[in-house]
Amino acid sequence: MSLTLEEVEHIANLARLRLSDEEKERYRQQLSAILEYAARLQELDTSQIPPTSSVLPPRSVLRGDEPRTDLTLEQILANAPQSEERQFRVPPVLE
């Protein structure tokens, strides 16, 4: 189970990461090792075992439909890299 360099580049692109050639090769080996480990786990016969997507009791906590305000606009915009006209300002999206 070995990843190709193209696959690593594709995954990096999805995560919006720019990697050097050296990093690509390093992550290719690390990710391949993780996949190999997962492949080994998949060899186990788990057909008789119910799936465990969480170790917590399978019970969602629900919230009533009541509005509440938390922080002020100023407090939240304080976390923005830049802001303008009450809005978060970011660089334009390159299509």
Partner: protein, 479 residues
Amino acid sequence: MTDYEIVIGLETHIQLNTTTKIFCSCKADSWFDPPNTNICPVCTGLPGVLPVLNQAVVEKGMLLAAAMHAEIQPVSYFDRKNYFYPDLPKGFQISQYDRSLARGGYLDLPMPSGYVRRVSIHKLHMEEDAGKTKNAGRERLIDFNRCGVPLVEMVTGPDLRSADEAAQYLIRLRQLLRWIGVSEADMEKGHLRCDANVSIRPRGADYLNPKTEIKNVNSIEAVRDAIEHEAARQIREVEAGNRIEAWTLEWDEDAGVLRKMRSKETEADYRYFREPDLLSLPITDEWKERVLAGLPELPLERRARFMQAYGLPEYDADILTGERNLSDYFEAAVQAYGGDPKRVSNWLMNDLLRMLNDTGRTADQLKVTPQYLAEILKLVDANTVNTSTGKALLAKVDQSGKAPRAIVEEEGLAQVSDDSAIRAVVQEVLNESPKEVESYRAGKVTLMGWFVGQVMKKMRGKADPSLARGILEELLGGG
């Protein structure tokens, strides 16, 4: 040329009309609010926050699923759909992937030309909306008001066969959403958004050709136009010997053209996995029963019942069940009246609907209650007032909110059915109009309407018109 048929599937995003967002307590509706009025650490994706599911979202989702005849799942899960875009502060959208709220389902579309198209539902799940971004010069501004607003995404099978059927699907879906009260379904406000998957094939074929996806067709007209354009384009390509490629297109409503969009990520690129911050969502039979007890009779069921139980023509039944309020009004009026339901329907469709349209109200806001409409009909039936006075009464009751009978007494509107009183006025009219009397006697019998009109005018509309006509015929000596 080959005879082609269009194969269409629609993906709709429905904004639920809950008070708050799906995973936080921010107000969901921001239509009249300035940017970033309804935001908090959860919906702006600050580190360390946890989503808490809104019970009302699940319950409205359940109502919609049941109305679509889908099977509500005893356990469903939320998943992360990962992609990077500035309108999504967390870097992922919380959605449902393989174990969603409901499975299966369908919507029947009675088409105006008489057949019924059954559209299957492939997917029905809950998810959060993203924010809004707009370019401002060389920057991009982001408003997170819409981020975390609850949506139900519903995807149909490739079951629609024309642009008209696709339009009809949206019309019926919008009607249903408002009827069961889960969404305002205002397409202009983005409460009901639609993408269309379009392909063509020779008529009668049972395989599917590569399809294109048209994004952002957000009005009924846009859906119709965009699909027609795209099907025509595909036919031209195929006829020219070219292959259809799986493009993503965008409909430019103003220019009336389709533009190719940057190709999107594929399904695998979203790297879905279970949302670790939310637990599974079990829906017990008890909860389900309690919620679905609030599901009203559905519009198409009521439409069929109106035709069967009240003997209404399909046309009447369709209009009267266009809105739940209107159909409730009709039924209450029929009950209060006790006479011919078609008569109630006629008055509703001819007069009250115009009043509603002119004033932008719904039937439950009328001061002419169903009981008052029934009372007016009975006054007309008993010849207490004639038909035109009855219609004038509708407006008077709607203005004053007074009972029709009280208005008749107050304003002395009761019809004069006294033979001698009418006879005296008829004689007066004949004396004043010797020329018309002569023409009538010479054979111009169409003047009868004019004579009746003159009598009514003199009696301020209160004469019994059939009595007046009888006396006129008698005194004019036939034709």
